[in-house]
């Protein structure tokens, strides 16, 4: 645990990618099994611990520290693990257990022992160790190290290709002993059945027209719609079918009717959508299904779903990922020459020039696609986000002016800044009603100025939330507006972000709620 907490402390304060990699490599080479495996799981967010949540630690600290003082401290620090680690008074020294036994002991502990066990660990540890310890359980380490970077460090350590690690990653398990011995040349490469695991998906870069299309020949690319559902991977073989989300989480249980119906021996990549007969409905409709972990038969009948297939990774046992997109599409075309409901092939868009595609992506009479995808015909299927292969060309965002109403401090890197803003417009009764919340789209300099605005124009405080003078107009960009009965305004914005801050614009020039609804919903 000591070594692990030192590693985290060093990582969070290191900005150079190379130094981070070498810190990780050093750790993997100097730490024995199984501890390094536990650390690896923690660093790649693969360590799950159901019994202990953030609220558990909050309750613990509130027994020791005045609640109001805790709230003020948390608001200031912006990181729960760090707040608690600093507020906890160290009571006695002692030897911290090793990471693996610490974890296993907690796992074995009965509910009534758990609390004392944890208090004991918090008592014997230093502030840095407490911080690392609490981080393990409160989700997301937030130390500026991505899973991919950790895997890169493993690749460097074993002198293998990052791709090789990505391909078997989801078949590996705590404490990764077989992988470490492979990387250290004392064992072979772990053997993993393609049907047991999620295969990391290939992702697209946002298209920058001037840069990416300037010299590109339309003939070298295929275009298709970017459907507005959730990206899924379908892993099917003789013993059944599984659905995974983009991040590798299994979502099969929410869609029992789909996995029951799909038959075959393949790994496909597609978009899960609400609707039937190849007629997609909006993302909002799909949301209904996503919220239900175990839907009833009746609910399923009312909210049917299907999948548009983009790509194929394996077919009848053959790995197609190194083949070109054109070759993979051929396999799909022949498979989908028959009706494969609830799956259908995502159609390609015939186009001769980019201008044509530019128009297509913006046609927004129905909110079923988010724009278009442009894929190089020669692209193999590469896990991650390789450069220059796939591009997403989203619809132009819509814009609306609104007035800043409330602000809250951000977390992590932004903990000292008021960086989360609630904005609103006037309704019929000339009352300002919130229409959304935005956290991004401004530069660091603008954030500084916004932060000053909030601090000097605060008129009310509700815990960590500050209500500000209603004087500042911002132009908000968003992808989609939909009706919503969850909000007082009756509308919800999809992915709102700052486009411009209108320091000079008077608030009476902002369009009213009624006008906005007319513009975007009718």
């Amino acid at each position: 645990m000591k070594a692990f907490s030192n590693l985290l402390s060093d990582l969070i304060l290191t900005s150079s990618r190379n130094r981070k990699l070498s810190l990780l490599e050093q750790y993997f080479s100097s730490t024995p099994d199984p501890d390094r495996g536990y650390a690896l799981a923690a660093l790649t967010s693969s360590l799950s611990f159901k019994n202990i949540k953030a609220s558990f630690f909050k309750d613990l600290i509130k027994e020791k520290q005045d609640e109001h003082l805790f709230d003020l401290s948390y608001d200031y620090v912006g990181d729960l693990a760090e707040t608690i680690s600093l507020l906890w008074d160290q009571e006695k020294g002692g030897n911290m257990p090793r990471l693996s036994s610490l974890f296993e002991n907690l796992k074995k502990a009965k509910n009534d022992e758990l609390k004392n066990h944890i208090i004991n660990i918090l008592n014997i540890s230093t502030a840095d160790q407490r911080w690392a310890f609490i981080k393990l359980f409160t989700g997301g380490l937030r130390i500026g190290v991505s899973s991919r970077l950790v895997k890169q460090a493993l690749a460097n350590y074993g002198n293998v290709d990052l791709e090789e690690i990505e391909k078997i990653w989801h078949g590996l398990h705590l404490p990764y002993t077989n992988m470490f011995s492979w990387l250290e040349n004392t064992g072979g490469k772990p053997k993993i059945s393609i049907y047991d695991i999620f295969h990391p998906m290939m992702l697209a870069h946002p298209l920058v027209m001037e840069k990416d299309l300037a010299t590109a020949n339309p003939k070298d690319f295929v275009a298709e719609y970017k459907w507005d559902g959730i990206r899924v991977q379908i892993v099917s073989h003789s013993e059944g079918c599984r659905l995974y989300s983009r991040t590798g989480d299994e979502v099969s249980k929410s869609f029992p009717e789909i996995i029951k119906t799909i038959q075959g021996n393949f790994v496909l990549d597609g978009e899960l959508l609400a609707g039937i007969n190849n007629e997609p409905k909006t993302f909002n409709d799909l949301q209904q299904r996503l919220n239900k972990k175990a839907p009833s038969e009746k609910f399923i009948q009312k909210n049917p779903c299907f999948i548009k297939i983009y790509d194929v990774l394996f077919f009848n046992g053959e790995d197609l990922r190194d083949k070109t997109l054109i070759e993979r599409k051929k396999v799909l075309n022949s498979y989908f020459s028959k009706n494969r409901s609830p799956m259908s092939l995502s159609e390609t868009i015939e186009f001769k020039d980019w201008r044509f595609l530019d128009k297509i992506r913006d046609i927004s009479d129905k909110q079923i696609h988010e724009g278009v995808m442009i894929k190089s015909v020669s692209s193999p299927y590469i896990a991650g986000r390789p450069r220059g292969k796939w591009f997403k060309w989203k619809r132009n965002p819509k814009n609306v002016d609104a007035i800043i109403m409330y602000a809250q401090r951000g977390h992590g890197k932004r903990s000292s800044f008021y960086s989360d803003y609630t904005f609103g417009v006037f309704n019929k009764e000339k009352e300002l009603v919130p229409i959304g919340k935005a956290y991004s789209g401004f530069t660091d300099e603008e954030l500084n100025r916004l932060d000053k605005f909030v601090r000097s124009k605060t008129i009310n405080r509700f815990g960590p939330v500050r209500e500000v003078e209603k004087t500042l107009v911002v132009e908000i960009a968003f992808d989609e507006m939909s009706l919503s009965n969850r909000h007082k305004s009756g509308i919800a914005l999809r992915f709102p972000r700052f486009k411009r801050i209108r320091w000079d614009k008077p608030t009476n020039e902002v369009e009213t709620l009624d006008q906005i609804r007319k513009n975007f919903l009718e």
Partner: protein
């Protein structure tokens, strides 16, 4: 009753404490820029503070100086003024305003832990305590500064190729860091930014041994491998620092207690060394003075006010302008 207002103006004797604007009569607690300004007519302070003000603002920064040593008093009208050590920087003082029936203490900036290069802080009993609260949250609990220095030296010995650039305010913090390094046995030359060499000379002239200091100029670029350079925090991000290669950025400040803060400022070695009181020092001092009323000049006043009230002490924040968290001195 002595009458003092929320701008620290004492009406009975027409005198301000640490005013931000030029006044007829001022009492100055210490030489930092957010407390000591040029342009007052008559200034009352410790001998060290008057020297510091003259070094920073010139001989004529005030029409006249009256200096008193720690523990000494002067009578102005019916009020007796005594200065006590505040252990913040060289010359820093608490101000006791006293009549036979009423005692007010203005702490200025202070810390109470032992810092052997300064006169130790004294608790001065009073009725009204006017205190700072820069680190007025219970998360601020500072370790021994010696431990932070050991961590730094350990890092230096492991990374001899790097240049260690330490951000520390030019007056007080820089000299304290250098002094701590010398106490820890670091005898190598230390390089200092041009803005602090006069102040370092001043500290040395007062018997505080800072060893051999050299200016961090570019005469010999390779000189800086494995060396320590001390510079004001603003220089850390400035173009000035780009002249050095392989920099490891360090920052000596109480703010470094919070990792996310250190990360924001791209500090790789945070040194949690503060010249202000931490939470326990603040609350203990309030208790020990026996004050019935507390005014909080600047800092994280919410939490300290709450604590006072919970402990049956009246508290009022003054939110003095120009002293916010970004100017931790």
């Amino acid at each position: 009753m002595i009458s003092i207002d929320n701008k620290l103006y004492i009406r009975d004797i027409d005198t301000y404490i640490d005013p931000f604007f030029p006044v007829e009569r001022a009492i100055i607690t210490h030489g930092h820029a957010d407390h000591a300004r040029a342009g007052h007519k008559h200034v009352l302070c410790t001998p060290e503070t008057s020297e510091i003000m003259k070094i920073r603002y010139g001989e004529n920064c005030a029409s006249s100086f009256q200096t008193i040593k720690y523990g000494h008093s002067v009578k102005i009208g019916k009020i007796s003024v005594t200065l006590y050590p505040a252990a913040h920087i060289l010359g820093s003082a608490q101000v006791l305003l006293e009549t036979p029936k009423h005692r007010i203490v203005v702490t200025g900036d202070y810390k109470t832990i032992l810092d052997r290069h300064l006169d130790p802080f004294e608790v001065v009993p009073c009725d009204l305590l006017i205190t700072e609260a820069t680190f007025g949250l219970p998360i601020f609990k500072f370790n021994k500064p010696e431990m932070e220095i050991v961590r730094l030296l350990d890092n230096i010995s492991k990374n001899k190729e790097n240049t260690f650039l330490i951000g520390a305010y030019s007056l007080g913090k820089a000299q304290r860091i250098i002094w701590l390094l010398r106490e820890a046995g670091f005898s190598d030359d230390i390089f200092v930014h041009g803005s602090m060499d006069k102040l370092c000379d001043f500290y040395q002239s007062k018997g505080i041994r800072l060893g051999t200091l050299r200016k961090a100029t570019l005469d010999n670029k390779k000189d800086f491998k494995g060396k320590i350079i001390v510079a004001p925090p603003s220089a850390l991000k400035d173009r000035w620092s780009r002249r050095f290669e392989n920099i490891t950025r360090c920052y000596a400040s109480g703010w470094m207690q919070v990792k996310q803060r250190a990360k924001q400022s791209q500090i790789e070695i945070p040194l949690v060394i503060s010249d202000h009181s931490d939470w326990n020092e603040l609350t203990n001092t309030i208790k020990q003075t026996g004050a019935e009323k507390v005014w909080i000049t600047h800092g994280r006043e919410d939490a300290l006010k709450y604590w006072c009230e919970k402990n049956g002490i009246q508290a009022e924040p003054l939110s003095l302008q120009h002293r916010d968290e970004t100017s931790e001195l």
